[in-house]
């Protein structure tokens, strides 16, 4: 081992490159491996995870899709009537606006779940205080997370303490204050859970999410058939025709788009696959660098191996010596990657929206994964050393006759490295272009409108607030609203009859006062909109162009909206109200005079003045609540934050991939320059200029970049076209993206290899001629 250490030190340059490449590659592979493992095992820590299913049913508002929703009594009916159902648990997300502890109030809006009393037995969340069957005995019991318990009570025991929760009731958002006794404290699971909560209370009644646990050996399809056969008896949400329930496995719950609640997290499974693919690519790039340098180390040692053999050493002893060096290199790389993982874990979590802790990294599964990476590297190295020994002159003692070393270039692998970088550059450019497109796209409304969310206690003060704001010149318009585009909307199903047939449609609904349209700067195409007096607006509505298009042969203006008793008094141009992944659908705007939002359109030239004014008036009117303000632009960015995360992920991977590829290319160019030093000298003696020598040395790399581009361009086109497909509104996948990506790869490659080439080309030719 001492000799191995000495040999490694003697080849410092190769050693450093190997350590950098391997440790970065191992870090990426381990982080991505742990991430994928954790994501795919979401909720797998529950004792009965393979038998727990969430109930879903047909969504009456979106034909063809399902919703996670169970009518009150549905799960109980299943347990009472089917022996296949062992148990059930109801879960409902509630909104806790603030928490009162003693005389302190906390506006931390903790995620709160109201659940069945058996929650802690049904699932496997760990209680650190309290007993699972007793913590939710009454509706006044509350169980807190360890973090909240410590925050509210410090080192004192939380059990038996009294807290008050100010909950916002749905759908009115009216605030109700209720007293609870702390009966338990739970530990947040290290493993991933799709339910994310800080406070648990007991559910009293009502519709909810529902989970059932099937008896052993009961198949999901069998149970679904049973539910379908008995659907007439099971309460379910429907729009006229009784539907059935479906069972969604607990593991698949996480990878769905169908739920939206603060207490539940979801993940697009594509994210996991993309991360895995990129992790593997980066690992492969690092292995290519490693193998090419290992090959060179072997070649440099060929003579010494042969001399050892001539002097009595066996082939096995030589291989063993080389493997000791490999073990040392891979071992140090593993240790280095351990350090990098520790340092980069917070950044990785931020990048992937994950919450992997160091404790989790030290679990048996993760250690096993890291061990597998270690073993894979050793096996690859061993196989490579054996192959190299066989192909070189070491075994048949011919290496002494070799005059010149032929360093490995691995052209196919180098092309793979550059191609990976080009694909990632194409991806980065495309995502960036799409982001710019989304940012610049006209939404059909004013994104600068500020939305104030008023606490229910102050609903009666909304008019006062409004008038105070309107009296200042920096405020252009103020409107009251209870459903605002981008903030949230309700859905309604209208049934009507046409040609003797029953028909229906499901528009999205918004509601506001007479200034709603003007404040949001919606474009009124026809009609006059709501009256300012308010009173005569009660039975009136506005519709958007998309809704009008549902009735192409009718002039709806001034008529009753089909299926509704409201008269259409205006038609507005389509405006975006949610993610741009979806097309604008039919929408109506109803007049309402009770609101929970104030929409403020400020003079953009006096933006700071307006914001200060809003804060000041809020303090005057709503002094005991913190300012709850968000511009539609900020909300729009939150809705599209996923895209920004994605560009960050791709950009980071792109950087790592380019960095590793260029390290590999630099090493190759250095070795090739050394191999060709004498040739360069001869050419210079015979009249070659520095530029001609550089051109000669870099010509091969240009071919690699061209080959890589030919591979990467169609792949990039295919993947980015697929990615853009998920947007209803897409930017064009322009040709310049491909050219720019290819050029960038070319420039980076040339800069990487040109430095070394220039160094060799400009040296004194006599030095080159003396080089052996």
């Amino acid at each position: 081992m001492k000799r191995a250490y000495r040999n490694i030190l003697n080849n410092r340059f190769s050693t450093i490159i190997i350590l950098i490449s391997l440790s970065v590659g191992i870090t990426c592979m381990c982080l991505v491996g742990v991430f994928v493992q954790r994501e795919l095992a979401t909720d797998g820590f529950h004792k009965y995870s393979d038998r727990i299913y969430a109930l879903s049913c047909d969504d009456p508002f979106a034909p063809g899709s399902r919703m996670y929703f169970a009518r009150e009594g549905a799960a109980r009916y299943m347990q009472d009537n089917f022996e296949q159902v062992e148990d059930y648990c109801l879960v409902k997300s509630t909104i806790t606006n603030r928490v009162f502890v003693d005389n302190n109030s906390f506006f931390d809006k903790p995620n709160t779940l109201s659940v069945s009393p058996n929650f802690f037995d049904f699932f496997s969340y760990q209680l650190v205080a309290g007993q699972s069957d007793k913590v939710l005995e009454t509706e006044n019991n509350v169980v807190l997370s360890e973090q909240l318990a410590e925050k509210y009570f410090g080192s004192a025991s939380p059990l038996g303490q009294v807290i008050e929760l100010e909950e916002l009731m749905r759908p009115t958002k009216e605030a109700v204050k209720k007293q609870y006794v702390v009966t338990g404290v739970f530990r947040k699971p290290l493993a991933n859970s799709h339910l994310q909560f800080d406070i648990i209370t007991m559910m009293e009644s009502g519709d909810s999410r529902a989970f059932i646990r099937l008896a052993r050996d009961v198949e999901r399809t069998e149970m679904e058939a049973l539910l379908a056969a008995n659907k007439e008896h099971i309460p379910v949400i429907h729009a006229g025709t009784q539907g059935t329930y479906y069972l969604e496995s607990l593991s698949s719950n996480y990878f769905t788009h169908q739920r939206h609640s603060d207490a539940e997290i979801t993940r697009d499974i594509t994210d996991v696959y993309i991360a895995l693919a990129i992790g593997i690519i980066i690992f492969l790039i690092s292995i290519i660098n490693y193998l090419s340098l290992l090959d060179n180390l072997l070649k440099m040692r060929e003579r010494s191996f042969v001399i050892r053999r001539i002097n009595g050493s066996s082939i096995g002893a030589n291989i063993s010596m080389m493997m000791q060096e490999v073990l040392l290199l891979v071992g140090v790389s593993m240790l280095l990657s351990g350090v990098i993982i520790t340092l980069s874990l917070p950044f990785f979590n931020q990048l992937m929206h994950a919450s992997i802790s160091l404790d989790f990294m030290l679990h048996l599964n993760q250690v096993a994964l890291v061990s597998i990476v270690f073993i894979v590297l050793l096996v690859i190295s061993f196989v490579y050393v054996i192959i190299s020994f066989k192909s070189s002159g070491i075994i048949n003692l011919q290496a002494l006759d070799k005059k010149k070393r032929n360093y490995a270039q691995f052209p196919v692998f180098r092309v793979f490295q550059i191609a990976s970088s080009i694909v990632l550059i194409i991806a980065s450019f495309t995502i960036l272009k799409q982001l710019v497109y989304l940012n610049n796209k006209s939404l059909g409304l004013d994104k600068n409108v500020i939305v104030l969310t008023i606490p229910s206690k102050y609903y009666e003060q909304i008019d006062v607030f409004k008038q105070k704001l309107k009296s200042h010149a920096c405020i252009k318009h103020v409107a009251g609203a209870s459903s605002t585009p981008l903030m949230g909307h309700w859905m309604v199903k209208f049934h009507y009859s046409e040609g003797g047939k029953d028909k229906s449609y499901t528009p999205c609904g918004f509601s506001g006062d007479a200034e709603f349209v003007e404040t949001l700067d919606l474009n009124l195409l026809a009609g006059k909109g709501f009256n300012v007096d308010g009173i005569s607006n009660k039975e009136k509505c506005l519709i958007n162009e998309s809704l009008l298009k549902l009735f192409p042969n009718q002039d709806l203006l001034g008529e009753k909206l089909p299926g509704s008793d409201k008269e259409v008094v205006g038609i507005v141009k389509d405006f975006h109200y949610s993610n741009l992944m979806n097309f604008v659908g039919p929408a109506i705007i109803e007049y309402r005079d009770s609101h929970n939002h104030l929409l403020v359109k400020a003079d953009v030239r006096k933006w700071n003045e307006a914001n200060l004014l809003i804060s000041k008036i809020w303090q005057e009117v709503i002094h005991d609540y913190p300012l709850d303000k968000l511009s539609l632009n900020e909300r729009y960015n939150i809705i599209h934050a996923e895209n920004k995360s994605f560009i960050n992920l791709i950009a980071v991977c792109c950087f790592i991939s380019i960095f590793l590829s260029m390290i590999g290319l630099f090493t190759t160019s250095l070795q090739m320059s050394l191999v060709r030093t004498k040739e360069i000298g001869i050419r210079k003696v015979n009249g070659a200029t520095v530029m001609e020598v550089i051109s000669l040395l870099t010509k091969g790399y240009s071919k690699w970049v061209v080959a890589a581009f030919i591979v990467a361009a169609p792949l990039g086109y295919y993947y980015m076209t697929s990615w853009l497909q998920k947007f209803a509104y897409q930017t064009e996948l322009s040709w310049w993206i491909f050219i720019a990506a290819g050029m960038l790869a070319y420039i980076i490659t040339m800069l990487t290899v040109a430095w070394q080439s220039f160094k060799v080309a400009s040296q004194n030719p006599i030095k080159a001629l003396r080089y052996e």
Partner: protein, 233 residues
Amino acid sequence: MLKTNNLQKVFRTEEVETTALNNVNIHVQKGEFVAIMGPSGCGKSTLLNIIGLLDNPSNGELFFDGQEIASFKERQRTNLRKGNIGFVFQSFNLIDELNVFENIEMPLVYLKLSAKERRERVQRVMERMQIAHRAKHFPQQLSGGQQQRVAFARAVVANPKLILADEPTGNLDSKNGAEVMNLLRQLNEDGTTIVMVTHSAEHAEYAHRTINLFDGHVVTEKIHKESPVEEII
């Protein structure tokens, strides 16, 4: 044609400073064949390399056709070397990856001659050196004598004014060595100026004049025969 004025070359490392050439003054006339002799390490090859613009002097002046060239920049040095100076080395310095034809063609490529002209010139010189039948062979497939003839062909293919030969017979047996020397004499008779470094007194006899170096100094000069030029130092 060639003149050095107090030429100095000092090699410096961290620990030691070695003076390879110490105020060397020589003068080579056009059409002359000059041999440089001396013990190993006396500065023969260093002098040849500096004359051929392969290395820089530490001090002193170097004139080529009356023009001071020691202070030339890299590009100027390359341009002067190109087509004016041909080199022949003891170790042949052929490129293993190129065949005989391509090795000989190389200086013409850098002179940017057309492919046709290159082909004609290479063919002519190969026939003259009697290696045309080896055009497609690679250096490692040739004997030492054949390799040196290829190196000669490459040195003369661009019709240089000056050929610098650094121990051209050092790696050859006596028969091949004599053949090489005859080639050099023939080239000189055809008008090419030749400066040759050699250890062999017998081969030095082929030259008009021998300059003896010792410890970086010119110690003696010996005229063997009448030079075709009038002016001799």
